[in-house]
Subunit: 236 residues, 2 copies
C-alpha cells in the first residue's frame, strides 16, 4: 500500500468496480481475473490492477480476485462500511425526486432531511415518506442533531452559492451540487457538481459534427452490431 495521492478518476472507477462485483456476486461468481472483469464491463485490465494496486494487494496470482473479498476491500476503501446521512437543500422537483431515490440505500446512504425556504412548502411531507420539509434556517441545527455528513444542493443556480455557504458554515465537508453554477468552496470541502446543462450541451456538440473531430469515448469502446428488439420488461 503506497501513500500516493489518489485521483478522483480512480475513486470514480473504484465505485464502478464495486458495482461490477455486485453483479458478479449476484450471479454467484466466486472469482474473476482483471481481464475477465475488463472484458465483461468494457474496462481496461491494466487500469483495474493499477487502481487496486494503490490500496494493497488483493489478488491471487494465477487466479485473479475473489469477488466477495474484493467487494469488502473496495467497500472499506470508499468508506461505505460506515453509514452516511444525507440532507437535501431544495424541495423542488429534483430535490423531492432525489429524496425518494432508492439507489442511495445500496451504498449505505440515507436521506434524513429535506430543506426549502418556501413558506408554502415547509412542513409538507414528501412522497410516501416520513420526511418533513424543513426551513433552510434549520440546516445547522439538523446537521448536528441528525448527524448529516453529506448535503445535496438542488436549488436554482442563483442561490446555490448562498446555500453552499450556509452548508459549509454548518461544518459539512462533502457536497453534491446539481445547480448549474460555478461555486466557490473552501479547500477542505469537497464539492462534486453534476451539471445537466453541460452534459447536454456537450452532446449537442457531438451531434453537430458527425464522427470526426471528437475523441471517441474511451468508456465505450466495444462494438455492438445487433441492437436488440423491443422488450417487455418493466421500466420503473
Amino acid at each position: 500500500m503506497k501513500s500516493e495521492k489518489i485521483s478522483e478518476l480512480t475513486t470514480n472507477r473504484l465505485s464502478v468496480y464495486l458495482r461490477c462485483l455486485n453483479t458478479l456476486s449476484a450471479a454467484g461468481i466466486k472469482s474473476v481475473s482483471s481481464q475477465a472483469l475488463a472484458e465483461q464491463f468494457n474496462l481496461n485490465s491494466a487500469q483495474i490492477r493499477k487502481d487496486l494496486g494503490y490500496f494493497g494487494e488483493f489478488g491471487v496470482r494465477g487466479v485473479g480476485y475473489y469477488v466477495e473479498d474484493l467487494r469488502e476491500h473496495i467497500t472499506k476503501i470508499l468508506g461505505l462500511d460506515k453509514p452516511h446521512r444525507v440532507g437535501i437543500a431544495g424541495a423542488g422537483r429534483l430535490g423531492t425526486a432525489l429524496a425518494d431515490y432508492k439507489g442511495f440505500g445500496r451504498s449505505n446512504f440515507s436521506v434524513v432531511a429535506l430543506f426549502d425556504n418556501d413558506e408554502a412548502k415547509i412542513g409538507r411531507r414528501v412522497g410516501g415518506d416520513k420526511l418533513v420539509i424543513q426551513d433552510v434556517k434549520k440546516i445547522p441545527r439538523l446537521v448536528s442533531e441528525e448527524g448529516i455528513d453529506v448535503m445535496v444542493i438542488a436549488v436554482p443556480a442563483r442561490v446555490a452559492q448562498k446555500v453552499l455557504n450556509q452548508i459549509m458554515s454548518a461544518g459539512i465537508k462533502a457536497v453534491l451540487n446539481f445547480a448549474p453554477a460555478s461555486l466557490h468552496a473552501r479547500l477542505d470541502v469537497k464539492v462534486k457538481t453534476v451539471d445537466l446543462t453541460t452534459s447536454l450541451e456537450s452532446l449537442s456538440y457531438f451531434l453537430a459534427r458527425p464522427q470526426i473531430n471528437t475523441v471517441t469515448n474511451p468508456q465505450y469502446k466495444s462494438q455492438l452490431d445487433e441492437p436488440a428488439e423491443l422488450s417487455e420488461h418493466k421500466l420503473q
Copy 2:
C-alpha cells in the same frame, strides 16, 4: 481554425464559458479578458484561450473578447443555434422531474416525449404539461414523427441496456444516461452517463480520509473565508 480532435473536457468547458458569458451579458458587461473571466469564475486563463483557439480567433489583442460576439461563437460551436428535441425513457420520479426541468429551454432543448412500459402509466399526463406518457414500443415511431435527436435514459439499471439498444436502433446518436450501469454503445452513438452512485461513493472516499490523499479539486481552487449567513432568498 485547426482540425485537431477536440476532447470532451474542452466541450464541457465551452459550455461553462457560455454560462459565464450569459452572466456577464446579463450584468451588461460588453467585453472581458481571459484573465478577468478566469478570476471571476475560477478558471484558468491560458486554458480559456487554448480552448477557444481550437475553433478560431475570437479575441482582440489588447482588449479581450466581446461578450456578445463570443457568446454567439460558442453557441454555434456547440450546435446550440439549432433546436434539439429530447425524448425521455422512463416516467419514474427522475424522468418526470426531468420532463418538467426548465433548464433545458435555455440551451434550445425541448422535451417532446416521455416513454414508459408500465401499462398503468401510459396515457397519463405529466406535470402541468401537455406531455402524455407513451409506450416504449412507440420510440421508433415518435423519434421520426417528432424529430427527436436526443434521448434520456431514466430507467432502472437492469433494463438500461435493452432500452439503449431500442434507442440506437431508432437511429438516435446522442444519449444522456442516468442509469447506474455500464452500457455498450455503437461507436457512432455518444452516450454520456450521469452516475449519482459513483458521485456519492467518491464523496464518501473523500470523507473517509480528511485532507491528505486526495488530489485537490482543480475546479475549486479559490479560498472563501467567510461563508455568508443564512439567506431569505426563495429556493425553488
